[in-house]
């Protein structure tokens, strides 16, 4: 069994999800290699090589991979993957974009969002917004899998693994990058933060949403949002938590002015401790909250901030 993990990186930094994907990979086989594809990625390669359990890092560093387009990275993966039994990436927008393209070309199935490894060919994954958990056996010669990173702890650091540079012909003429707007990266990353404070439609406006940001700052927490808050323009799209947004499982999740629709719960119900602040005592969020506070959030949030200062 050998596993190829596609590393995810942004601005020369290895994303924290990759260490979690490596942890999942080590449960499937012991020859775990990491592919770093991009441009000017030597530091990313070093970071990947120091993840515990990694056997080797394969680096493909060339200008035509600078924007990491799925079509281009797919060509790289296809040249390398045949000697592996498993191909893994995080179930992030990057991994979700890339791996099924590889699967389509290989005419092989993919298992998305795996949350548990039962054996090298049997896995658990949520379906129906987490309303059910399927145990699926995959007997394909190459098992293509995206990993829900919140379900796995990260591997630690170890002595650097070997790494080798490879060059690959990339001929993608289908797509090109026009522009990218990075969300401001204040505070910890949503996907791996220890504490997340999320606001919903109840916040009422973008200005009021600053109350969430301020509380998050106080708790050294990442900011999250419900779909309704993002749709209304209170918060940026990359803060949406839920079935079709980001999946988080922090130590503490504070939901403010969020009703608790199944699509939102799908993204946060694995959190260790859930706090809900809502003025409607019948809000479904209270059914899954460890601590519920029925209160107007505009009273509760200032009180909470001063109690924590």
């Amino acid at each position: 069994m050998s596993v190829l993990v596609v590393a995810e990186h942004l601005g020369g930094v290895l994303q924290s999800g990759t260490a979690r994907v490596v942890a999942a990979a080590l449960q499937m086989g012991d020859g775990v290699d990491v592919l770093v594809a991009g441009h000017n990625v030597s530091e990313v390669a070093e970071q990947a090589a120091s993840l515990a359990g990694v056997r080797a890092v394969v680096v493909v560093d060339q200008p035509n991979l600078a924007s990491q387009l799925a079509e281009s990275v797919c060509e790289v993966v296809l040249t390398l993957v045949d000697s592996y039994s498993h191909l893994l990436a995080a179930a992030s927008t990057f991994g979700k974009n890339l791996l099924p393209r590889v699967a389509g070309i290989k005419r092989l199935p993919q298992l998305s969002d795996v949350i548990e490894v039962i054996s090298a060919d049997t896995f658990k994954r949520p379906i129906y917004a987490g309303g059910a958990i399927a145990t699926v056996q995959n007997t394909a010669p190459l098992k293509i899998i995206t990993v829900r990173t919140s379900a796995f702890g990260a591997v630690g650091q170890a002595a650097a693994a070997a790494y080798s540079g490879v060059s690959v012909d990339v001929n993608n003429s289908l797509t090109s990058l026009v522009s990218e707007t990075q969300a401001d990266a204040a505070g910890p990353e949503l996907g791996s933060a220890r504490v997340v404070v999320s606001g919903g439609r109840g916040m009422g406006s973008k200005e009021n949403f600053a109350l969430i940001e301020s509380l998050a700052g106080r708790l050294n927490a990442a900011v999250g949002a419900s779909r309704a808050a993002v749709d209304a323009g209170y918060a940026a799209n990359d803060l949406q938590v839920g079935q079709t947004g980001k999946i988080v499982a922090p130590e503490l999740y504070v939901a403010v002015g969020i009703s608790g629709a199944i699509q939102h719960l799908a993204g946060m119900k694995e959190s260790r401790v859930i706090v809900a602040i809502n003025q409607d005592e019948d809000a479904p969020i209270f059914k899954i909250a460890d601590y519920g506070l029925k209160m107007d959030l505009f009273e509760a949030l200032p009180q909470l901030e001063s109690a924590l200062s």
């Binding site: 992030s92 199935p109 289908l174």
Partner: protein
């Protein structure tokens, strides 16, 4: 330009799914079904492109048993011109659906394929990317804006780090995200008119689905339920519990 749009029949998004007591599958008997919300967004986008004079014909496709005709009719009431039902009683996975679409792309030669980014039942988020790979087309997943240029499109994507805009040569595959548009409701006269629009029913066996079925669902279980928590009366009590009972804040 012709647009090919995928439409899937799924559980209504407001309904909580039940698991069968024997844990072989979910139980969808007597469950309210609907068009997958992301497919609705794809249909809406196609209709808007037709209203803008960019699209000339909208062909909607669904793979499944006869009942999927309900969703195809709805898509035609919303503005699609004709429908293809690829008929099968069996459950089909994303890979098989992508193969069917790849064959339809070859036959119909659309300028654009619009699919939902994910269906809310299997939550796979795969079909569009698989199709793009098989058909050798460019892909833009998680689309929140589509702009037509000469011979190409620019698509803005909602990605983890923010927003990204790509340019794609046509034909291409675009998968829709929540904020691409807000789908309209079908009007009664349009529902009546849609009954006259054609549905071409073709057996799945007519398609060259080559992929072997490597996946086997061994079990489907209800998720672990969270323990019911407690209501606190004040912010002070909340902070005290978080510090001294849960130990999550210092």
């Amino acid at each position: 330009m012709k647009i090919l749009v995928g439409v899937k029949r799924v559980i209504d998004y407001n309904v909580q799914v039940r698991v069968r007591p024997d844990e072989t599958d979910v139980d969808l008997s007597n469950t309210k079904m609907a068009m997958n919300p992301f497919c609705e967004i794809a249909v809406e986008e196609a209709v808007r492109l037709k209203e803008q004079g960019i699209a000339s014909e909208i062909v909607v496709v669904s793979v499944g048993p006869k009942v999927v005709q309900e969703q195809l009719r709805l898509a035609m009431a919303l503005g699609a011109d004709r429908a293809i039902q690829v008929e099968t009683e069996d459950a089909v996975d994303s890979l098989a659906v992508a193969e069917v679409f790849a064959e339809l792309v070859a036959q119909e030669q659309p300028g654009l394929v619009l699919l939902g980014k994910q269906s809310i039942d299997s939550d796979n988020n795969q079909t569009g990317q698989m199709l793009a790979g098989m058909a050798g087309l460019g892909q833009a997943t998680f689309a929140s804006a589509i702009n037509f240029k000469e011979g190409c499109i620019q698509v803005t994507r909602e990605v983890d780090g923010g927003l990204q805009t790509l340019e794609l040569t046509l034909p291409a595959v675009v998968t829709t995200d929540l904020r691409l548009n807000e789908p309209r409701h079908a009007r009664l006269p349009d529902i009546m008119k849609s009954k006259k629009k054609p549905i071409d029913v073709r057996p799945l066996g007519d398609f060259n689905v080559t992929a072997q079925n490597y996946l086997k669902v061994l079990k489907v279980q209800a998720p672990a339920q969270r323990q019911a928590g407690e209501m606190v009366a004040s912010v002070a009590e909340l902070v005290d519990k978080l510090k001294n009972q849960a130990g999550v804040i210092a």
